[in-house]
Subunit: 110 residues, 2 copies
DNA sequence: CATATTAATCGTAATATTGCAATAGATTAA
DNA sequence: TTAATCTATTGCAATATTACGATTAATATG
C-alpha cells in the first residue's frame, strides 16, 4: 500500500519516524552537512555542490523546511537557506531519547 | 524515479541515510522500543503488541536484521529477537556525529 | 519596459515502500 | 506420522518517493 498506519502508533513514535525519514536520503544529509559547514547558504551553491538538478534540490529543501529543520530568507534573486538551530536542538532531543534507550541490562536470551 | 543516486554521496552520508531510513517507519520504531523494554522477544508478541499483520511485522523485522540492529535465534517453533547491542552502539556513534554537528557559531545570514 | 538570474512548481516516468492474504517451511507434541 | 504452532516468503495492489525537463514566478539590472 505504501501508506504507513500511523494511527496505531504514539505521537512520539510517529515524530521519530518523521524526522528519521527526512534523514533517510543522502542528498538531504549532504545538504544539512553543507549548511552546517558554511553556516549560511543559497540554493544555487547546493546544486553545484551536490550535483543533482535544481528542481530536485529545491524539492529536498522543501521537505527539510516543512519539518522546520532549515529556514530560508529571500536575498535578492536568490534564497538564503540555513539550519533552524532551535528546531534542530529540539529534534536532537527527540532522536537522542530514542537512540539512547537503556542498553545496560543483559538480554534474557539471544 | 524513486531511486536515490547514492554514487554521488560519501559512504558516511549513505550510511547515515540507511540507518535513518530504517527508523523512518513508526512500526520499526515501535518494535525497537519494545525490544529494549522487555529486553528479549519473540515475533508473536510483536504482532499482538503492534497490531499489524504477521507478515508485515516479519518484513519489518527482516529489515532491522539486515542492518544488523537486531538478531534472532530460533527457540523451538518461535524466534527470539533482540537488540544487537554492539551494532546499536556503533550505529549510535554514526548518527550522533551527524546530529551533534557544531551548532555554536552564529549564522552569517537568516 | 525588456532581459537576465534564481528558485519554485508542475507534470510525468521509474522505482521503492507498505500491507496483507495465501502459502510454504520449520519445529514440537501427540 | 499427523496435527498444531509459529515464522518466513511470495505475490499483488495501493501509495510514496525520487529525479528531472519544462515552465512559471519573483526580483534585479540595463
Amino acid at each position: 500500500m505504501g501508506l504507513a498506519k500511523t494511527e496505531m502508533f504514539t505521537d512520539q513514535q510517529n515524530e521519530i519516524a518523521l524526522f528519521a525519514k527526512v534523514f533517510g536520503h543522502p542528498a538531504r544529509v549532504s545538504i544539512l552537512q553543507h549548511l552546517f559547514k558554511i553556516n549560511s547558504c543559497v540554493c544555487g551553491d547546493l546544486v553545484n555542490e551536490i550535483g543533482l538538478a535544481q528542481p530536485t534540490i529545491s524539492q529536498h529543501l522543501k521537505e527539510l523546511k516543512l519539518l522546520g529543520l532549515i529556514k530560508g530568507s529571500v536575498e535578492g534573486t536568490s534564497v538564503c537557506y540555513c539550519i533552524h538551530k532551535e528546531n534542530w536542538i529540539a529534534m536532537k532531543s527527540v532522536m537522542s531519547q530514542f537512540l539512547n534507550q537503556d542498553i545496560t541490562q543483559e538480554n534474557k536470551c539471544c
